[in-house]
């Protein structure tokens, strides 16, 4: 066709010529192949993905594997400090890191809504590729489905991740012991407030950006430094309070937390005060809590603070042998109250 601009064909064009995702992009035909080649393979480029087989294969080393899965449905897709793509990579890496594993390979399943801008998809995929490359992991297999307009929210991403746990390393809630120090890797609540502020069009003074970040390097450093890590947990939905409650119940211990030791940035505190939210329950995507023997608390903090992602690490409490209630908070006034699980999401208050 010599003059393609004036010609409007009814047959499918290559993905790159279209501006939005069509149902046919998930239909298994040429359009889907074009999308896979031009968007995904180009961005994720690696030798294990290249054969485009039904799955990726690799030789198995001796040792213990860690395996995790997660799904990402964040709205809006782009927020200060990240997007759904980088979030999916960081979140999956972090789940592996919390098992003490070195992350190796990820999968990425995309559920795309008909009508999604291909530019937006390209940006998200590029962001995933960049985040994976920076973290030294490969996205080695994937899948794409397209749902009718109105039946999705732009992009949903499901991931799985595989990692290798170094020999001799065990990181489990049941290893938590009374007397352990409870450490948090940095300030809390920035991710939740950053996403909320753009989703609801709220303007807060001071730029709040998401804390979304990979945590495997600091965890790897803790392991290599010989820290006897009892347990790690990344602080995602439900925030610190929910994670501590889950761990305390699983380990049949209590936890005593000092509210004034928990780091929260000023703009995040301000936003939470205004909306009636408690930063201890707000989501994070690049923060974790660690339980280590008391004798190693200072060393652990020193190692954590060597990494930018955990430069503000702090000791926030101690594991106790009183397991009812699971978590007790010493307030800024020195009084005590329980730090409970919420029944659902926090809701902004009336006044």
């Amino acid at each position: 066709m010599s003059n393609s601009k004036s010609f409007e064909p009814a047959c499918p064009l290559p993905a790159s010529k279209m501006k939005t995702v069509q149902l046919a992009h998930g239909g298994g035909g040429r359009l889907m192949q074009d999308l896979i080649q031009e968007v995904f393979v180009r961005a994720f480029d690696n030798s294990m993905l290249a054969p485009l087989h039904d799955g990726a294969t690799w030789p198995v080393e001796k040792g213990t594997l860690a395996f995790t899965t997660d799904s990402y449905v964040v709205r809006p897709l782009f927020f200060p400090g990240g997007d759904i793509g980088s979030l999916a990579v960081h979140g999956t890496i972090n789940d592996l890191a919390m098992c003490g594993a070195k992350p190796l390979y990820l999968s990425a399943g995309f559920i795309l809504e008909e009508g999604l801008s291909l530019d937006v998809l390209q940006q998200v995929v590029n962001s995933m590729a960049k985040a994976a490359q920076a973290a030294g992991v490969s996205i080695v297999t994937g899948d794409t489905k397209v749902v009718d307009r109105g039946k999705g929210d732009g992009i949903f991403i499901n991931t799985a991740g595989v990692g290798l746990v170094p020999s001799g390393v065990r990181v489990l809630p049941t290893l938590i012991r009374p007397g352990d120090a409870i450490l948090v890797s940095g300030d809390l609540g920035s991710h939740g407030v950053a996403v909320l502020s753009v989703r609801e069009g709220l303007m807060f003074s001071g730029d709040v950006t998401s804390d979304s970040a990979p945590l495997h390097e600091v965890v790897g450093d803790l392991i290599e430094s010989g820290i006897e890590i009892h347990c790690l947990r990344d602080l995602t939905r439900g925030g610190l309070a929910s994670a501590l409650n889950e761990l305390a119940v699983a380990a049949k211990v209590g936890m005593a937390i000092d509210e004034s030791a928990v780091p929260v940035l000023e703009p995040v505190r301000g936003a939470c005060e205004l909306l009636g939210l408690d930063p201890l329950y707000v989501a994070n995507e690049g923060r974790f809590v660690a339980m280590v023997p008391e004798s190693q608390a200072e060393t652990t903090l020193a190692v954590m603070r060597r990494h930018a992602v955990s430069g503000q690490a702090a000791r926030i409490g101690t594991v106790t042998d009183r397991h009812a209630p699971p978590v007790v908070l010493r307030t800024v006034l020195g009084t005590h109250r329980i730090l409970d699980l919420l029944s659902g999401e926090q809701l902004p208050r009336i006044c």
């Binding site: 609801e200 006034l333 409970d340 029944s343 009336i350």
Partner: protein, 370 residues
Amino acid sequence: MKYVDEFRDRAVAAALAERIKQIVRRPWTIMEVCGGQTHSIVRFGLDSLLPKDLTLVHGPGCPVCVTPIGLIDDAVRLARQPGVILCSFGDMLRVPGSQGDLFGAKADGADVRIVYSPLDALEVARANPNREIVCFAVGFETTAPPWAMAVVQAKASKLTNFSLLVAHVLVPPAMEAILSSPQNRIQGFLAAGHVCTVMGYEEYDAIAAKYRVPIVVTGFEPVDVLEGIAMLVSQLEAGKAEVENQYVRSVSREGNRQAQAIVDEVFEPALRAWRGIGEIPRSGLQIRSAYAAFDAAVRFRDVLASFGPAAQEDPECQSGLVLQGLLKPMDCPAFGSKCTPERPLGAPMVSSEGACSAYYRYRGQVTREA
């Protein structure tokens, strides 16, 4: 954080607690009117700093809690009407009506949207000219001005798809209802600081004089509440019954005249039912006839009438006694067993300002730490 940290200062709080101990000679029972104050007391464990002879009871100042079940049912049913977008503050969505809550309606396909400001609801109306925007306008004197402003702006911009389902209530009539009750045991009030920011505190003079009770307009941070208590017990011990203002950084005697004027332009006092308490004359707000086009009670009169008589609150829910300060949440037989945040019998268990919710969240099933 400025204006917060200094009011959560441990040393200042300890000094105030000590001052209260020095002042108190006899047992006193006082009520903090506002749910925000209740949460501050329970969240920061302020009652554990006070002498045992001083009893704090929690007042009716949680707008979500006092909204009767019939109005919640109306909101849920209106939300389920075809073409309606129901806008509400987030607090209301989990409050149970007789046939579920607004979250349930949303899950079933109703278009229920959380707004952060009444003016956000106006934007929803402008963006959806073919839909009926019904706003569940809940609150005390604090949120009445922005809802009034939204109605004035809706009229000015000739919006024809915007109305309020008004569940607004007023604080002073509720205080009088509590004081008039034969079971009353309240000897002094911490008045709600933010209500007084709007309304001032001139209207409390008559209540203090008539019922011989001291009233201290009080803020919400721990130091505010402790200072308010110190001022109140000083009056009680001295046999005084005056109106004082602790919350001077926010409240003036006359309040915010502009805000009062716009409320008066749009709303008028009306008989209002309070959950578990019953009807109190002139204790609520209704939209004036000049703005009837923006009143969901008028606009949807036939639809609302078709719903039949209002449902009754669950008889096992003791929220009426809790809201009048006659029962502590933990002394309710249903607390923590039949009534939890996941399966609430009444609104005080789910509202962020509800007394039952405060006790459940910050105290759980256990007595407080030593």
